[in-house]
Subunit: 232 residues, 2 copies
Amino acid sequence: MNAAASRVLTRSTEDYLKAIYSLGGDAELPVQTAAIADTLGVAAPSVSGMLRRLAEAGFLEHIPYRGVRLTDDGRRAALRMVRRHRVLECYLTSELGYDWDSVHDEAERLEHAVSDDLIDRMAHVLGNPPYDPHGAPIPTPGGEVEELKHVPLADLEVGQWAELRMVSDKDPERLRFLKSVGLDVGTRFQVVARQPFNGPVTICVAGGQPQPLGNELARSLGCAAREPEGAA
Amino acid sequence: MNAAASRVLTRSTEDYLKAIYSLGGDAELPVQTAAIADTLGVAAPSVSGMLRRLAEAGFLEHIPYRGVRLTDDGRRAALRMVRRHRVLECYLTSELGYDWDSVHDEAERLEHAVSDDLIDRMAHVLGNPPYDPHGAPIPTPGGEVEELKHVPLADLEVGQWAELRMVSDKDPERLRFLKSVGLDVGTRFQVVARQPFNGPVTICVAGGQPQPLGNELARSLGCAAREPEGAA
DNA sequence: CTTCATATTTAGGGCCACCTAATTATTGGT
DNA sequence: ACCAATAATTAGGTGGCCCTAAATATGAAG
């Protein structure tokens, strides 16, 4: 009945909605024009124009000079794209031999072209996996997502054991580096040192050499505390 | 070095090149504007405009008021799309449970979004099949296609045994009908009757009831003569 | 409370790909 | 050889989405 439901989304609108969703925002801090422009690599005035159209179509509320917040329709549309992207990443990795560092770009293009039916078939073939290869949760067809409460690796205490649970899929370099030092989703490790002043965190993957990780990288890694290796 | 090689193709140009390729044409009878417009479902003036751009980009030669012929670059680009489409049809059918009547639309959208790498991976997983589910030959990555010399079912003699080799993938209705009467790519049958004045052709699939087929349908089915059932 | 840096929006333009209406070229019949 | 029917092109316009430059709103600091 609403405008949003009847509107057929273009590639561009899909990208905007996904970007706005991923930037989060709440009643206090709506998502700002500049952040969207930066994420999508377009100029700010282009964003202004698109926000007007998306607001008219009912996908978001726009408070001029302050920012935007997705409506329920907008969130639904965004989560549909997130589901597509993550199912595609799973499928391409499991069935077609892609690495976790090369899968993002392919999924980014395909997510605009696949049907919901195809996505569901892919998910079905894989046994409806709950997470993508980077540990990100896959929304259900109905638009539900698990809220994950991970601790940034940078915030773990020295001596603590933990497991890597989630990594951003955006930067292939970073992903290749992580693989090269033995870090994957599910890898257990112990924090063995932490320098102050946002210095590096040093960890030890079970049975490996100490490995220092820069603070910026360490802040981008979502972890969960775990029992020490070998314990019950 | 040429314009064509440096140009990044848009969705639309890909569709035009594919349509022009599929319409064939030769030195005598170049592909005409109206035929392209009809195939793509756009107005003739839209085609005129696009032909000018494609000719400038080096994909085709345009003789005003007569028609167009693809250049080598144009043919290469078109065959790349044909390969994509047919590999996708194979993959979706073999690995994701699509039927031969539902696979066309999905492939039509995906062919613009997949990378060459993904297509080659799909083909590899399937063991590089030579034909798609409708019997159409799959071009190589280098742009070679097998030329098939099929006989329209409508042209077979009464009494003759033959095998269905190729069907158009465009019309789902037609494909569902063929399945329903037991006709698939590879099915052997015998022509048992033929009415004059473009009347129906009646065939018998091994061990089945006589089945009349309308002339228009029978003309669209590519067949190959075969030894009688049971013979060496 | 004014002022200045920063963020955002408006103004004005371009390209792509489509449309309809009007014009022009080609061709087959007389 | 001409004329009507048909096919193709040009003319002129639209919407989507992008851009730069200019104008305007916000908010923090003096």
